[in-house]
């Protein structure tokens, strides 16, 4: 193991003590990282769950910690596959671990005010799509943090370039074989997801995001499928778990499901997401520059504090700004069940038509940042046969979730019209 210099520990409410090297501490102390203390993890969720005041700062430390534990567990359990079949050397693995730690630590440095809410006012790229915060994170790493990453004494040995961290984070081909580790940053069992479920659960005060992450660490490994009959090459190696980890990963999938329905897509939280997006549009439209080395400083000057300062002015943010200041949000007047039938969808259409202008916004779970996709994780048996099966083969719950995904639609009215809207809905539902 390379010399880490002096080591430090930061107390984390989820993981206990998070160990850091002197090098990592310098990166954390950089203003571009300290800025994350001023960006809340869950935007305006504290209007529903008052404890949800945690920031991207503590989450980023947690992601680095979990990514590191996952990396070590995989190397410990799959050293043979990694070195013999994928060609990693011991030196590669040590260097890659540091790059993974930095990528995990810095993955959110490009977030705008109120996290995902700002993404609607990001400029658009050449394909007409809004830039994502990851594009800003890459520019921050390659420019603003380049010096503190590359010129630390502990980098004399590994010679890590800031660009290598950005390559891994962005999914660029220059990352080469190291792309294998991208699954730890963005995947079904990634460190980001593993941390935010536990952390959001703790701070909101709900228990839905908890799962046995230590058991998951204890069973994760590289899974190589054999080539199918008639094929010369098998699909690429994936991360999976041994059979003993089935219920740990099942619980991870369920934690996402519960957190989505109870927190991330909570009716009032969704209303405030709408209002903050509206207020940010009123305040910041056309303000954010595209991600570039030249203008990244301008972008980083925006955080929650600056927006809150503007929002404190009772004339700012338009109607949405007023609603936030007065906690006078749009009210949900109808929602579909989690797995609507054709009949439920028909009813939704009738209600929407009947309510007309009384509906001021329609929010759909499928377009939520936290939406769920079809989950499946490879599971390998622990006998000599080493058969690989998907999680959904073992878990009827996961199988059902894949076949019957969450598809909630929420209709909202202004508070002053919500009573009339609900009365109309009740009238319509009486006949269905």
């Amino acid at each position: 193991m390379a010399d880490q210099g002096r080591t430090y520990e930061i107390r984390c409410p989820v993981h206990g003590f998070i160990p850091l090297s002197d090098w990592e501490r310098d990166v954390i102390n950089h203003p571009a990282f300290q800025r994350l203390r001023r960006i809340r993890q869950l935007a305006w969720t504290d209007y529903v769950y008052p404890g949800a005041m945690h920031t991207r700062f503590e989450h980023s430390l947690g992601v680095m910690h979990i990514a590191s534990l996952l990396f070590e567990a995989i190397v410990r359990r799959s050293y043979g596959v990694l070195t013999k079949e994928l060609g990693f050397t011991d030196e590669d693995l040590e260097r890659d671990k540091q790059i993974v730690r930095f990528a995990a630590l810095l993955h959110d440095t490009g977030h705008g005010p109120f996290s995902h809410a700002a993404e609607d006012v990001f400029p658009v790229d050449g394909k007409g799509k809004h830039y994502k915060h990851e594009a800003y994170s890459a520019v921050v790493i390659q420019n603003v943090l380049k010096d503190v990453i590359e010129n630390h004494g502990l980098n004399k040995g590994p010679q890590i370039k800031a660009e290598e961290i950005a390559d891994l984070l962005e999914g660029r081909s220059a990352a080469g074989r190291r792309l294998f580790w991208r699954q730890l940053i963005d995947g079904q069992m990634d460190a980001d997801r593993m941390d935010y479920l536990l952390r959001d659960s703790l701070h909101t005060g709900v228990d839905y995001g908890k799962y046995d992450w230590r058991r998951l660490l204890n069973t994760i490994q590289v899974i190589q499928m054999e080539a199918r009959a008639g094929e010369s090459t098998p699909p690429g190696p994936r991360l999976g778990v041994t059979e003993g980890g089935v219920h740990a990963v099942e619980a991870l999938v369920l934690a996402r499901y519960y957190m989505f329905t109870q927190v991330y897509f909570h009716k009032t939280r969704v209303a405030y997401d709408h209002h903050i997006r509206g207020a940010l549009k009123a305040i910041l439209s056309g303000t954010f520059p595209p991600p570039s080395a030249e203008r990244i400083g301008e972008y980083l000057s925006w955080d929650d504090w600056r927006v809150l300062g503007i929002l404190a002015d009772e004339k700012s943010g338009g109607e949405d700004g007023n609603r936030i200041r007065q906690r006078n949000h749009y009210r949900e007047v109808h929602h579909t069940p989690e797995c609507p039938t054709d009949g439920d969808r028909t009813t939704l259409g009738l209600i929407r038509k009947s309510l007309g202008d009384l509906v001021v916004t329609t929010e759909w779970s499928k377009t939520s940042t936290y939406r769920l996709e079809a989950s499946d994780i490879s599971v390998v048996t622990e006998d000599d046969v080493r058969r690989v099966r998907p999680l959904s083969y073992y878990s009827a719950v996961v199988r059902n979730l894949n076949q019957h995904p969450i598809d909630i639609v929420r209709l909202y009215s202004k508070p002053e019209h919500s009573e009339a809207a609900r009365a109309k809905v009740a009238e319509l539902l009486k006949d269905t």
Binding site: G176, R177, P235, G236, R238, C339, T367, E373, Q403, P405
Partner: protein, 190 residues
């Protein structure tokens, strides 16, 4: 042109499945066919593909697949075989309803989808992982304005996918180039 919404993408998925050999596709095939549709044919699906060691991937494709199952536009089953597992995505009971959605998007879209399925629909998951990675690497070099021939593309892909031989990767690069799919390697050069 605006990006497709999820319903429109599910309609495209339904068309892909109905035109696939044996009216069945695996998850990797669906992922990579969507990638080819967006990247090669310029269909504005609105996906944001990023590179993994198993090729370009966007979890939103799986989210649409899941929605497609929920709407019964497609049906998905796990297929277990001796060496592992895969998925069989077939037309669902409500597949016909999506035809209208697709028709509303213009007559050429169907033929573009059919072309992509015809060209790549018979390839195995591992072949598609390789071909889509080759295309991703080619597009990256082109976007960065870095001159790169078949050797540079082969070398870069080899680093990402060490379990493929150089010969197999190079053949994949030449095949894609011969069809005019690569910006860096013109078809007349192979």
């Amino acid at each position: 042109m605006e990006s497709f919404n999820p319903e429109a993408r599910i309609a495209v998925l339904g068309r892909m499945v109905s035109k696939a050999p044996n009216r069945s596709l695996g998850r990797t095939q669906v992922m990579k066919l969507f990638y080819f549709l967006q990247e090669l044919k310029g269909v504005p699906l609105g996906y944001d593909f990023r590179l993994f060691n198993y090729g370009p991937f966007d979890s939103e494709v799986l989210s649409d697949l899941s929605s497609g199952c929920g709407l019964e536009a497609v049906h998905e089953e796990v297929v277990i075989h001796a060496n592992g597992y895969g998925y069989a995505i077939t037309p669902g009971q409500q597949a016909g309803l999506l035809e209208k959605e697709l028709d509303a998007m213009g007559s050429t879209l169907k033929s573009i989808v059919d072309q992509v399925v015809l060209e790549f629909g018979k390839s195995s998951a591992s072949e598609l992982e390789l071909l889509s990675t080759i295309l991703y690497v080619d597009r990256e070099f082109a976007a960065a304005d870095v001159p790169a021939g078949d050797k540079e593309i082969t070398d870069r892909v080899q680093k990402i996918k060490p379990h493929f031989s150089t010969t197999v990767i190079r053949q994949g690069v030449l095949n894609m180039a011969a069809k005019g799919h690569l910006k860096n390697v013109p078809s007349h050069s192979v």
